[in-house]
């Protein structure tokens, strides 16, 4: 059960981040944090199919995390979290077309290793 939850968390988190990024890039940049700007962002996001799918994926991941936290220590989700840093960077490059070069690969790799080491 634990490992199934870890798998669901990793996959849904990755899907959620990639879909949200694709959707939010289509909406245009949020220029400030005034309430009316955020309300405008939310109004557009709730009819944006990418963001709807992204948030649905994150909601599934969130409920799986709640279940996992109630039966296991947070550290149980760590391998999935670490792997998703590298997987999401890969998808950002090849699906979202971001310019991922040595520095960003190094950054994602350092974070992934660091996240694992934090559990000791």
């Amino acid at each position: 059960m634990r490992w199934i939850l870890v798998g669901i968390i990793a996959i849904c988190n990755t899907l959620g981040d990639v879909l949200n990024t694709a959707g939010m890039k289509r909406q245009g940049e949020v220029e400030d944090l005034r309430p009316q700007t955020l309300a405008w962002m939310v109004r557009r996001a709730v009819v944006n199919p990418y963001v709807i799918a992204g948030i649905a994926a994150m909601a599934v991941s969130f409920f799986a995390l709640l279940s996992l936290l109630s039966i296991a220590n947070v550290s149980f989700a760590v391998p999935a979290t670490a792997a998703s840093y590298l997987l999401e960077t890969l998808l950002a490059k090849y699906i979202l077309g971001e310019d991922v070069r040595t520095r960003r690969w190094a950054a994602a790799t350092l974070v992934a290793i660091g996240v694992v080491l934090l559990q000791f």
Partner: protein, 137 residues
Amino acid sequence: MNANGNRKTQLLVLIVVVSNVIGNVSLSHGMHQVGRIVSASPLDYIKAFANPWTAVGICILTIWMLSDLALLSRADLSFVLPVTASGYVFVALFGKFLLHDHISWERWIGILLITGGVILAEETPSRTTKGPPEHLL
């Protein structure tokens, strides 16, 4: 991106990191008080939300979700991911200096590696794409 635009992106990064850390700490504390749930029944989750720590955690994580979406409208996912990992460092240092947790040498190395990753990513431009993605998504 100009200096002003960069400052806005940095401010959003800060809000995303702080709301994520506080929201998750609060949620985790609440769920430990609630006890075990592995259930598909919405009722069990609604009961969990009645716990004040869980409720506050969810409110703060809503702020995190909105600020994260705003940040992703301005910056690359491959920039946001390593940069917001600074939250891990804050949680560890919070534990060390406020709760007097012991930090093993492995954890110190982890903190250093994540800090290095955050600095490396911060040195790249926050956005490398123009307009909506032209690839598959």
